[in-house]
Amino acid sequence: MAEPERPAERPVRFESLSGIPLDPLYSPASLPGWSYDEKLGRPGEYPFTRGVYPTMYRGRLWTMRMFAGFGRPEDTNARFKYLLAQGQTGLSTAFDMPALMGYDADHPRSRGEVGKEGVSISTLDDFERLFADIPLGDVTTSMTINCTASVALAMYLAIAEKQGVAWDRVGGTMQNDMLKEFIAQKEWICPPDPAVRIVVDMIEFTAKHVPRFNPVSISGYHIREAGATAVQELAFTLADGLGYVEAAVTRGLDIDSFAPRLSFFFDIHNDFFEEIAKLRAARRVWARFMKERFGAKKPESMRLRTHTQTAGVSATAQQPLNNIARVALQALAAVLGGAQSLHTNSYDETWALPTEDAVTVALRTQQIIADESGVALTIDPLGGSYYLETLTDKMEAGALAYIGKIDAMGGMVRAIDAGYPQREIADAAYHNQLLEDRKEKVVVGVNKYVMDEERPINYLKIDAAVEHDQVQRVQRFKAARDMRRVERRLKQLADACRGRDNVMPVLVDAVKDYVSLGEVSDVYRQAFGLYREPIIF
């Protein structure tokens, strides 16, 4: 007998954003041999698929943490205070490009960039103004900074001391994920091996002296923003994490002494279910690696805690108010995926850094999800969905296949040397662009529902005086230092870099003597050499 004729389907690609083919319907037949205890378990218990805490959002909501930073330190300080007054529960600092690449504001390479994409920081004087009147014992601060993260940590601890806050009360997160810098975000000073050594110095130092601090935020965000698929983001992020753990264990650290403080950071893109599946799979895969490969004993070592941010790459410059709807859906996915912390992008960020009004809508979006939608009232509410569990399994399998390849190359540092993740991402980004160009992938307002004339939006402009002011102030400040102390600290730092001593104790002393971020970076450049990227496009 002939098959009954299937009704025609719409002429679209029935696949996830990562290209996973999707069936018309999922049912128990989609999950043969699936075991609840093996795949999910209870929230707060191995393998943590349903969430890292037993009570999840019934116990405590996620941290609403809006990334902010622009202009002079006092400009960003004012934004921090505004956000805290609006009910935000943690701080997140964006630094400008000179700070992220290891140049002071008065360096020639900083021309045109001071305070543009984040706040300008050169010395402890800038850090003090950035956190003026903010109680560092009560608020946790996340800092998006990588090759110069060691300097930022030293400065943060120095001002905590000045506020009279003991280091064991200081909480926060350094992004400090250098492997993903080489793969995606691309702010670097020295090559991968010494870069990872500094990361491990920070892991070791915080485990001993700053136990509430997360020394690394292993980040998929930038990998995704560079054009990776969700599967690639998941795989490369977890492989980066395995790289740090391997390096720390090789140094002789006990896995359970530092693993509980490793944190993660994922992008939340447009494909609603795929993103939820990604977070659930991330927890399960990480827990298994920590237990099975590294022999972790403490449940806390197996727990993948993650910050999330809605996908900047999905925002459009056209019809920018549409971004509010995109962000709301992505934020909902982050929450249904069990994130510990969330930044919602502002609708105007395809034009410039966000205005206060735009940031407020983005923060309110989280508050509406938390307090009005009801999704935070029960744990992992989509768990058990045939579709979601199938996708979670597929994300896991896709990630494990990539991790297997990277293991075979000798780990992530060697894979980066070979240009492997860089090429995979460039290929995925190009493929996606071609789909958009051919309108096989719809981008509302860009290749469909286009409007000819659009009303201009009001966006944030950074005053040109910022650069001038910062340069003058840094030069004056540096000129007033005790140069003998500065020289002595730089010599100590160079010795630590060339030897095997942990650089952090020296750095804390150095920044207190007002050694600048650029001067520390110069020591790194001389001691470790400069990184040159393989050209891949």
Binding site: M97, P98, M101, E113, K186, V313, A317, T350, A352, Y430
Partner: protein, 134 residues
């Protein structure tokens, strides 16, 4: 004799690492049959102009998403003029607000592409507006 193919230097000036767009454009131009040299990240205007002169380029495509476009485009145009290489066309793209686009074009930037531009539009621009030096 067949015309020499058009040679484009795609460059990332400044300190930021946002290279998704630059790499996609470089690849789209290469796939369209142009000769493409991609400089990699963190290039100074001096390095970019030196590359363009040395490679005998017909055009430079600058990708800037750091907000430093006003400084960087002007510096590249000035350096080209100083070195008698003003015939090398400069175009670009990135996060550049409308009033800055007008000012940069008045300064001599041939075209600026903002987010959402298709690669076909960029290929068409190079095909129609950039000529290979003879």
């Amino acid at each position: 004799m067949a015309e020499r193919s058009i040679r484009v230097v795609v460059a990332k000036p400044g300190l930021d690492g946002h290279d998704r767009g630059a790499k996609i454009v470089a690849r789209a131009l290469r796939d369209a049959g142009f000769e493409v040299i991609y400089t990699g990240l963190h290039q100074t205007p001096e390095q970019i102009v030196a590359t363009a002169v040395q490679e005998d380029a017909d055009a430079i495509g600058l990708s800037v998403l750091s907000g430093a476009h006003n400084y960087l485009f002007k510096r590249v145009l000035d350096l080209l003029a100083e070195q008698g290489a003003g015939d090398i066309a400069v175009f670009g793209g990135g996060i550049i607000p409308p009033e800055d686009i007008a000012a940069l074009k008045a300064m001599g930037v041939k075209e600026l592409f903002t987010p959402g531009t298709s690669t076909q539009d960029i290929v068409r621009f190079v095909r129609e507006h950039i000529r290979a030096a003879v």
